[in-house]
Symmetry: C2
Subunit: 206 residues, 2 copies
DNA sequence: TAGCCAATGTGGTCGATGTCAACATCGCAC
DNA sequence: GTGCGATGTTGACATCGACCACATTGGCTA
């Protein structure tokens, strides 16, 4: 058992992020404490200062990793299904799946503590990557006629609203006892129906 | 200058809630401090304890008022438009409108700090009222044939996801420079198209 | 190879916060 | 009127974020 901890940790920054996420998963974002994180990792209370200017910076780092993970998970659907329509559905499912698999991450990513993305440019970039995949799939769908024509930005915003709202509501425990899987299917079905090709049946724009 | 403050405030509880909301609007949820709220109202730092067991209780009270306001604002559409379809659209718009008009309230309502609604039954009840209006309108629409048949719970969840996601994204500044009004219209349009009567064009349920 | 220096971790401190407990003051029921 | 519960005050304590001076390390250079 000789090995006593060396004076330098080696990879403290990542260790702090990991410990922070673990803490958030167990006791919520508000329980995240710089000192507690430092304790978990086995360094003194001031050590994190060398890697994160303040508490907000640590939270932002956790959120950034969450966005990267979401972007990767969502981007993976690009090679999955054959038709753009199927890919669009798979993309929606992937978004919600990631949220349910990593609820703590999701909560941090859209926490008010990092809402001001102008102060965390890397956050905005990571979020933009997710949105980019969505716009890309919608544009593809439009080229193949499986998605109704229209401003891709507006359509992607509508689609994003739907899957994001679904994810947030499910995480917040608004499933009301129903099967989450069924609710996700319902949402993605309606997403598909709402975006699919058809002539508008009534007046648009209030 | 005669009037010195009486020993008892008279309506401290509501005054604290109001001050708390104001503070949140100005500096964010994380800046909400029991002592600062007490200072604003002009009482000593321990006075709030008589009305709120802890900081979380105050936050929950603010959230509860937000839910009540949203429920009222949304319920108002019941008497507005003629057809159920129009009412459904108006309902979605009303939801997002309230969110944009009271962003701080919305953020608190869905803040992780009150996510555990089991510890705040009155919160769950207020949220349920909002959802109830939605289910009611969808059931009405189905009776008149302007909404596709299907489990009303699933349909309302899909609709709720859409408007809630839209509201959250807009509040979080994800409008990307586009007109919020146009984005809301796009979302509600797709909501209407997704729920409207038609035969499913492809397979459903993965 | 010797030494030097920037990066990284330690220990101490300060003001602010949430929470508790003991005390002061008020208003309403009797 | 009087007594008691509700409400507000004062004081205290542990913890937190942030800052500082100092200690230790490893890598770079001369």
């Amino acid at each position: 058992m000789g090995k006593k901890r060396p004076y330098h940790h080696g990879n403290l920054r990542q260790a702090l992020i990991d410990a922070a996420l673990e803490l958030i998963e167990e006791r919520g974002v508000s329980a995240l404490t710089l000192r507690e994180v430092a304790r978990q990792v086995g360094v003194t209370h001031a050590a994190p200062q060398r890697h994160f200017a303040d508490r907000a910076a640590l939270v932002a780092a956790v959120a950034e990793q969450g966005f990267r993970g979401l972007a990767a998970h969502v981007a993976a659907v690009r090679g999955s299904a054959r038709t753009p329509a199927q890919r669009l559905r798979a993309l929606g499912v992937a978004y919600v799946e990631y949220a349910l698999a990593h609820p703590a991450h999701l909560r941090v990513m859209f926490s008010p503590e990092v809402a001001d993305k102008s102060r965390h440019p890397e956050l905005a970039a990571a979020a933009q990557a997710v949105h980019g995949t969505l716009v890309e799939q919608i544009a593809n769908g439009q080229r193949q006629g499986s998605v109704a024509p229209g401003d891709p930005d507006e359509l992607s915003f509508a689609a994003w609203s739907m899957v994001h709202g679904c994810a947030v509501l499910l995480i917040d425990g608004q499933a009301m006892g129903r099967s989450k899987r069924a609710l996700i299917d319902a949402v993605v079905d309606r997403l598909y129906l709402g975006l699919g090709p058809r002539e508008p049946s009534g007046k648009r724009r209030s």
